[in-house]
């Protein structure tokens, strides 16, 4: 007869745990940079289920309040949870109705507190977040990791983007990029990621945030080149594969 007292609690027992252990449906990198008028952010629309590219229309960037834009990689359901927290935050901010509004810096700090708090409880929100915004002419771009590490920079990336996109940005980013230059630079980064990151899909959105507000583009694809002789006629031996 099993004594009920010897049954370990949910926190001690890994099988019955309520804590986050591994992510299930994940998004891949987000890349963002500051340009002349504000922030430009790009993320593809893929949600991977392990190694399967299962969902191909996941919006991984969302506007927050009047002044911020949030992009996330990692667990999609945790991102949705964060959006609910932020929704409530923005709601209460609006309810004050006093002319003050939360800017990107405040939202970034709030997110840091939330992520760090969850990490301390050993129940992290499995995301790497990119928070960008413009308020009163001040541009702000920051990142928060799932363990609460946060920083601010002129260009940030999550996941694979850190390894593949940031070196490009370090070389080619400069102050006061025009919109077209910035888009080209971002697309260059996203193309590299598309080629080299196995969880990337060729369907991406670019979002821009300026003093006027947020615009998230319609999904589109990047042109890729596969005309290498080594790739010629790949389905010769396997009809129907791609």
């Amino acid at each position: 007869m099993e004594s009920t007292q010897s049954k370990p609690g949910p926190l001690c027992n890994p099988e019955g745990s309520q804590r986050t252990l591994y992510p299930y449906v994940t998004g891949t990198s987000v890349v963002a940079l500051k340009y002349k008028d504000g922030i430009l952010m790009a993320a593809d629309m893929g949600g991977s289920y392990g190694s399967t590219l299962r969902y191909k229309s996941v919006e991984r960037m969302k506007p927050i309040g009047k002044h911020s834009l949030l992009g996330a990689s990692g667990e999609i359901s945790d991102f949705q949870e964060l959006l609910r927290y932020l929704d409530e935050l923005v709601l209460y901010d609006n309810m004050w109705d006093d002319g003050n509004s939360l800017g990107p810096k405040e939202v970034h700090n709030y997110l840091t507190r939330v992520m760090y708090n969850r990490r301390n409880k050993f129940n992290p929100l499995w995301n790497s977040l990119v928070l960008g915004g413009v308020k009163n002419g001040q541009k702000y771009l920051g990142m928060v990791s799932m363990i609460g590490v946060n920083f601010e920079d002129n260009h940030v990336a999550t996941g694979f983007g850190n390894h593949l996109a940031r070196p490009i940005l370090r070389d080619e980013w400069h102050e006061n990029l025009t919109f077209e230059e910035a888009v080209k630079l971002l697309e260059k980064c996203m193309r590299v990621l598309l080629y080299r990151d196995r969880s990337a899909v060729n369907k991406l959105q670019i979002a821009k945030i300026t003093e006027e507000g947020v615009t998230i583009s319609q999904p589109y694809s990047l042109k890729t080149f596969w005309g290498f002789s080594a790739f010629e006629n790949p389905t010769l031996g396997a009809e129907g594969s791609w």
Partner: protein, 389 residues
């Protein structure tokens, strides 16, 4: 007239005089019982008879308790009978009578609806809350003014005696917010601690300064709670909150009632009307004022409340917050220099400055003497109350 009772020990009279302030506090049954026990120990006492009124009330502290207990019952039984009539009060003892007849505000206390903060009067007033606002008027003056970019807080610091230090009335809440209080300084201290805590929590979560308007609303909500709980009492302190945020410089006044108002300039505390009159004449210029002019106006307004006493940096405190300037209290030397700077100009001006001609030493002594004397006469409330002067 009241017969002087030879059997009444002196300390009981003191007890009664302190009891005469119980109309300011809600009828706390425990408080009454505590006093009752003291009375039993020291004096022959009639038992408390609830609901039964004696035609000729005998001396003793129980008289007060019986009245308040019985009146609570009588409110329901006999609304027409006013237990707090002046004649009944007279019979306490000579000591109380002496004080109370001099009390101008005693007419206000003839209310059977003022014992509890949760009791409405038929006219729709909460007397306890209004009494709490009276407490603010007993504190020494605090003045606030703002321009587009700066807020200046000034207050009159009176020390109890030459030996003691003066009450701290201006508190820094954060780098961008400060508060000046008038009334019960203990309550003010507690509230400024709350404000500091709120400001720092906001800064920790959002890494940006708490907007003044939000702090003030939180403060007002906190004050409102005390006006709607029978086991609490309203805070007896008025707060002048001055601060800077995105939308500019702000000055707010928080009442014990839980209301708050935004002002261009305001003064609270005793003899604040003189300061208000001065500010009303000048406030239209404040928006565009420079920092120095604003401080000068604050000092002049402070001087108005002193009514003849010479303004010195030892009896006033000035604090400034502005764009690029965190909230800080100016040190005495700076303030004295500022006073000297405009006082020289003021000598020719027609504004009331009786000490202008006198030598500084004599003037200082005179000013202090007349100031102290004026204090006693002007302030009707006897200084037994544990409030800041």
């Amino acid at each position: 007239m009241t017969p002087i009772s030879p059997h009444k020990p002196a300390h009981l009279c003191l007890l009664q005089s302190s009891l005469s302030y119980s109309h300011l506090a809600p009828s706390n049954p425990f408080l009454i019982l505590a006093y009752d026990k003291i009375a039993v120990a020291s004096h022959r006492l009639e038992p408390m008879r609830k609901g039964k009124r004696k035609k000729k009330p005998s001396p003793g502290s129980s008289q007060r308790e019986r009245e308040s207990q019985s009146h609570l019952l009588e409110q329901k039984e006999n609304p027409n009978k006013n237990p707090h009539s002046f004649t009944e009060r007279e019979r306490h003892c000579d000591f109380c009578l002496e004080r109370e007849t001099k009390n101008d505000a005693v007419k206000m206390f003839r209310n059977q609806y003022d014992t509890d903060v949760t009791t409405w009067s038929p006219a729709g007033r909460l007397f306890q809350v209004e009494y709490a606002m009276e407490a603010v008027k007993q504190g020494s003056a605090a003045i606030g003014l703002r321009s587009k970019t700066h807020v200046v807080l000034a207050c009159v610091n009176k020390a109890n005696s030459e030996l003691s230090s003066h009450q701290k009335k201006i508190f820094k809440v954060d780098d961008h917010i400060g508060v000046a209080i008038a009334g019960l300084t203990a309550d003010g201290r507690v509230l400024s601690r709350y404000m500091r805590s709120e400001a720092i929590n906001y800064n920790y979560t959002y890494e940006s300064p708490l907007p003044v308007g939000r702090l003030v609303v939180q403060l007002a909500d906190k004050a409102q709670v005390c006006t709607q709980r029978s086991w609490k009492r309203p805070y007896g302190v008025g707060l002048l909150v001055g601060g800077l945020d995105e939308s500019g410089a702000h000055l707010y006044y928080n009442c014990p009632s839980g209301n708050y108002f935004e002002y261009q300039a305001f003064a609270i505390g005793s003899r604040s009307q003189a300061a208000k009159t001065y500010l009303e004449r000048r406030f239209e210029n404040f928006t565009g004022s420079t920092r120095e002019d604003l401080i000068k106006d604050a000092l002049i307004a402070t001087r108005e409340t002193l009514q003849g006493e010479k303004l010195r940096s030892s009896i006033c405190t000035i604090a400034v917050v502005g764009v690029g300037e965190p909230f800080h209290i100016l040190d005495q030397d700076t303030v004295q220099k500022l006073i000297d700077a405009f006082e020289i100009v003021q000598d020719e001006a027609p504004a009331a400055e009786p000490d202008a001609g006198a030598e500084p030493a004599a003037a200082a002594e005179e000013g202090e003497g007349s100031g102290a004397g004026a204090d006693q006469a002007a302030v009707p409330e006897p200084d037994v109350a544990p409030m800041d002067i």
